[in-house]
C-alpha cells in the first residue's frame, strides 16, 4: 500500500494516533532540553558532518585500514556484498559451531538482511535480547522505529503479550513487574547461547576496534557469555580515529533519547582467550548510494532516530506505514535507492518542512534529498503519472466548484503549468477543509484599476 493509504488507516484510531504523536513528541522535547545544555551543539554537528563526509570520500582506504588493524587484533573480518552473502557467512559460522540457538542484540542491519527468517529456516532459535525487540519478536512484527522498536505499543499491549508468552499476571501493567519477567526469561536464553550477534555503532579504522551502544547492557551480556561473537556492520559505520568517537557519542544519545550518553558504550578490540570474534562488513547497496552524488551523504547516518521523533508525518502515521526497514525521513531517502518502485511514495510522505535536517546530528540534508528523490521518481515513472493526472482531471470534472476554481486558476494565472498539476485533485481538499471564499476580483484586476 502507499504511505498515504497506510497513514489514513493509522489515523482512523484517533486516540491511539494522538497517543503515538504525543509519545514521540516527548522524546523530541527531551532531545531539545539536553542539546540546549551544550553551547557548542551546532559546532559538534558540523564537526561530525565533516568527519563523516571525509570518511565517505575515502571509504575504501579506511575500510582496508580497519580490516588490517582488526585482523592484527585477532578479529576475523568478512566481506559481504549483499544480504544473501551476509546471511550465508553467519550460517557457515553457526554450522561450524553446531550452534542451534543464538542471542542477538538490536541490529537494524540484520533486519535489513532478513537474518532472522534465514536462521529460523535453518532450525536455529534466534532471540532478540533488546527488550523492545523481544516484545515485537513475540508478535512477529518488524521494528516500527530504529531506536525504540516497540514504540507503537502501549503498556497494556505489552502486559497482554507477556501474559500470553511469559505467563505474567493478566492485566498487570506495572513496568517494573513486566521488565523483571522479561529479565528472567532473557537470562535463560543468554545462558544457553553459544553464539552472540551484535550490530556495530562505530568502527574505528585506526585501532581496528568497534563500539556497540546499548542502554540495557544486553549486547555485553550476550557477548560475554557466548564463545563466539559475530558483529555485523554496514560499511558506512566507520570513523577514522578513536578521538573522533567522542564527537559521535556526545551526539548519538542526546539526539536519540535526550540522554547525555548511552548506558553502555562497549569497545570490542580482540577476542578473549579461547573465544572468537567475527566482524562482517556489509555493502548491500551502500556503494551504489555512495555513487549517487545527490544522495551520497545519506550514508552519514548514525541511526539515532531523531528525524523520526521530530517528523510530524512519522508521528501521525507510525513506522509501519513506510513498509521499509528504516522508516521515517531517513528511511524515505535510503529506501528508494534500494528499490525505487517499491518505495516510490515515501519521498512524497513529507511536507518538506525541514525539521528532520535541523535535528540531524550529522547534518544530512534529508528534506532536500526527499525533494531530489521526487525528481528521480517522476522521471522513472513517466507514463503512469500521466495516468494519474487523468484521474485527477476526472475528479475535478465531477465537482462543479472545484472545476470553477481550477478553471479560474488555469485561465488566469497558471498558463504555463503542465496538465498534471492543473488537474489537481481539489476534491481531496474539501474532505476536511473548506475552500477560501472567492474574492470579487483578483489582485491583478485590482492593480490594473488602481495603479496603472
Amino acid at each position: 500500500m502507499s504511505h498515504s493509504e497506510n497513514a489514513t488507516l493509522f489515523l482512523q484510531n484517533k486516540e491511539r494516533a494522538k497517543w503515538h504523536d504525543d509519545t514521540l513528541w516527548i522524546v523530541r522535547q527531551k532531545r531539545d532540553a539536553t542539546i540546549h545544555q551544550i553551547p557548542e551543539w551546532e559546532k559538534l554537528r558540523e564537526l561530525a558532518s565533516q568527519i563523516k563526509d571525509h570518511t565517505l570520500s575515502k571509504l575504501g582506504y579506511y575500510l582496508e585500514e580497519l580490516e588490517k588493524n582488526a585482523t592484527a587484533n585477532g578479529i576475523k573480518v568478512h566481506w559481504a556484498d549483499n544480504a544473501e552473502e551476509h546471511n550465508q557467512i553467519i550460517g557457515r559460522i553457526l554450522d561450524e559451531k553446531k550452534c542451534k540457538a543464538i542471542v542477538k542484540s538490536k541490529s537494524i542491519l540484520t533486519e535489513e538482511c532478513h537474518l532472522n527468517p534465514f536462521l529460523e529456516e535453518k532450525g536455529i532459535e534466534v532471540v532478540d535480547t533488546d527488550l523492545g525487540e523481544r516484545i515485537i519478536q513475540f508478535l512477529k512484527q518488524p521494528p516500527s522505529h530504529i531506536v525504540m522498536p516497540a514504540i507503537h505499543l502501549k503498556k497494556s499491549d505489552i502486559s497482554e503479550i507477556f501474559h500470553q508468552k511469559l505467563q505474567t499476571e493478566k492485566g498487570n501493567t506495572d513496568p517494573v513487574y513486566l521488565t523483571h519477567a522479561a529479565r528472567l526469561h532473557l537470562r535463560e536464553k543468554f545462558l544457553q547461547a553459544k553464539v552472540a550477534i551484535t550490530g556495530v555503532n562505530f568502527a574505528v579504522a585506526e585501532t581496528g576496534e568497534f563500539v556497540v551502544c546499548t542502554n540495557e547492557g544486553n549486547a555485553d551480556m550476550g557477548v560475554h557469555l557466548a564463545d563466539t561473537h559475530i558483529a555485523c556492520m554496514g560499511i558506512e559505520k566507520l570513523i577514522p580515529r578513536r578521538k573522533d568517537l567522542g564527537v559521535f557519542l556526545r551526539l548519538l544519545a542526546r539526539s536519540a533519547t535526550g540522554q547525555s550518553i548511552t548506558n553502555y558504550n562497549s569497545h570490542f578490540r580482540s577476542p578473549s582467550p579461547g573465544k572468537e570474534l567475527h566482524l562482517i562488513l556489509v555493502n548491500n547497496g551502500r556503494t551504489r548510494q555512495l555513487a549517487r552524488e545527490k544522495f551520497r551523504n545519506s550514508l552519514k547516518c548514525i541511526r539515532c532516530g531523531a528525524c523520526m521523533n521530530t517528523c510530524p508525518i512519522y508521528r501521525r502515521s507510525g513506522g509501519f506505514s513506510y513498509e521499509s526497514t528504516v522508516p521515517g525521513p531517513i528511511g524515505s531517502i535510503l529506501s528508494p535507492g534500494i528499490d525505487l518502485k517499491k518505495y516510490s511514495t515515501l519521498p512524497f510522505a513529507s511536507t518538506l518542512c525541514g525539521s528532520c535536517s535541523d535535528v540531524c546530528p550529522v547534518k544530512i540534508n534529508i528534506h532536500e534529498q526527499l525533494y531530489e528523490w521526487r525528481q528521480e521518481i517522476t522521471k522513472a515513472q513517466g507514463s503512469s503519472i500521466k495516468g494519474m493526472s487523468m484521474k485527477m482531471a476526472n475528479g475535478i470534472f465531477k465537482s462543479p466548484l472545484a472545476y470553477k476554481i481550477s478553471g479560474q486558476l488555469m485561465r488566469a494565472s497558471l498558463k504555463t503549468l503542465p496538465d498534471s498539476i492543473i488537474y489537481n485533485p481539489l476534491n481531496a481538499w474539501g474532505k476536511g477543509r473548506n475552500l477560501p471564499d472567492l474574492p470579487a476580483e483578483s489582485f491583478k484586476t485590482w492593480y490594473k484599476k488602481n495603479r496603472k
Binding site: H3, S4, A7, T8, L11, D21, D32, I35, I38, P39, W41, E42, T310, P312, I313, R316, S317, F348, S350, T351, L352, C353, G354, S355, S357, D358, Y371, R374, Q375, T378, K379, Q408, L409, A412, S413, L414, K415, T416, L417, S420, I421, N424, P425, L426, W429, G432, R433, N434, L435, P436, L438, P439, E441, S442, F443, K444, W446, Y447, K448, R451
Partner: protein, 259 residues
C-alpha cells in the same frame, strides 16, 4: 505615525512585487496590503502584470525539469528591479533554491536569486526597520511557516541551539496591546505541503487540526503568519470545524497600523 527606521535617503528602491498565483486569485487583500505597506515605507513598487507562478507546485511534485519555461519567464519579469519582494517565504525559497539552473540566463538568474526577499526579511534586513509603532490590541499566535523558518531562516527554530530571533515578530514587538502567546509546539508544520495537502489528505488535515488546537488552547484570537498557503489550509479546517479563531497575514496587520 512614527516609524523607527532610516529611510534610504539617497535612492528609492524600485521593487518588483511578486504575488504568488494563489494569493492573486484568492487573497487580493494580502497583495494589496503588501503593495501599500511597501509604498508607505518609502519604496517604489511595480507589479509586473505578466507574472504567473514560480513553479513550486510542479517542482515539489517532482517536475522541476518541466519548470524551465516558468523559471525563465520569472527571471525575465523580475531581473530589472532593485529588489523582488513577495509576501510568501515558501515561494521565495523556491526561486532561490529549487528553480532549475538556466545557463542562458545565468547572470540574470543569479541576480534574481540574490535580490529576492520575503516581505518581513526585506523590511528588517534591507530597509533596516527595527519595528513598526502603533497599536494592535489582540492576543495572537504566530504560525512559523516552515520554508520561511528553516529555508530562509526568518527566525530561529526549536531544533537548533542558536540565539532566539524572529524577523516578523520583531517588526510587531512594539505594537501597543499586542500579546503573543507561547505555543506548546512553537514551530511544528501545519501540514499544507503543497500537493501533500491532497496526496496525503488524512495526515495533512490532522496536522492542521493539531496546529489550530494548540492556538485555540492558548486562547489565541488571531493566528498570524507569513504564508497564505499555510493560512488557507488552516483557515479551511477552522471554518469546516466551526472554530471562531481568525487567521491573518502579518502584512494586513502592519498595513492597517500605518494608516
Amino acid at each position: 505615525m512614527k516609524i523607527h527606521y532610516n529611510r534610504m535617503k539617497t535612492h528609492t528602491p524600485h521593487i518588483g512585487l511578486f504575488i504568488p498565483c494563489y494569493i492573486d486569485q484568492f487573497y487580493p487583500n494580502v497583495a494589496i496590503a503588501t503593495l501599500e505597506l511597501l509604498e508607505k515605507l518609502g519604496c517604489k513598487v511595480t507589479y509586473p502584470l505578466g507574472q504567473t507562478c514560480c513553479g513550486q507546485p510542479m517542482a515539489n511534485s517532482g517536475f522541476e525539469s518541466d519548470t524551465v519555461g516558468t523559471t525563465s519567464k520569472f527571471i525575465r519579469d523580475f531581473a530589472e528591479f532593485d529588489y523582488i519582494v513577495a509576501p510568501s517565504g515558501s515561494c521565495v525559497l523556491h526561486v532561490k533554491d529549487h528553480s532549475p539552473k538556466l545557463e542562458k540566463l545565468q547572470k540574470n538568474q543569479e541576480y534574481v536569486q540574490s535580490h529576492i526577499y520575503e516581505l518581513s526579511e526585506f523590511i528588517t534586513d534591507v530597509l533596516k526597520i527595527d519595528s513598526i509603532q502603533g497599536s494592535f490590541p489582540h492576543k495572537i499566535g504566530f504560525h512559523a511557516s516552515c520554508h520561511g523558518l528553516r529555508g530562509l531562516r526568518l527566525a530561529s527554530d526549536s531544533e537548533r541551539n542558536e540565539p532566539v530571533f524572529n524577523k516578523t515578530l520583531q517588526l510587531m514587538k512594539d505594537l501597543e496591546g499586542l500579546e503573543v502567546v507561547e505555543l506548546t509546539r512553537k514551530d511544528e508544520c501545519c501540514g499544507f505541503g503543497g500537493t501533500f495537502a491532497v496526496s496525503e489528505e488524512a495526515i495533512s488535515v490532522q496536522m492542521g487540526k493539531d496546529r489550530i488546537a494548540d492556538h485555540v488552547d492558548k486562547g489565541v484570537e488571531i493566528i498570524v503568519g507569513g504564508d497564505m498557503s499555510c493560512i488557507m489550509h488552516m483557515q479551511g479546517i477552522a471554518s469546516r470545524d466551526n472554530e471562531k479563531i481568525r487567521l491573518m497575514h502579518f502584512a494586513e496587520i502592519l498595513n492597517q497600523i500605518i494608516s
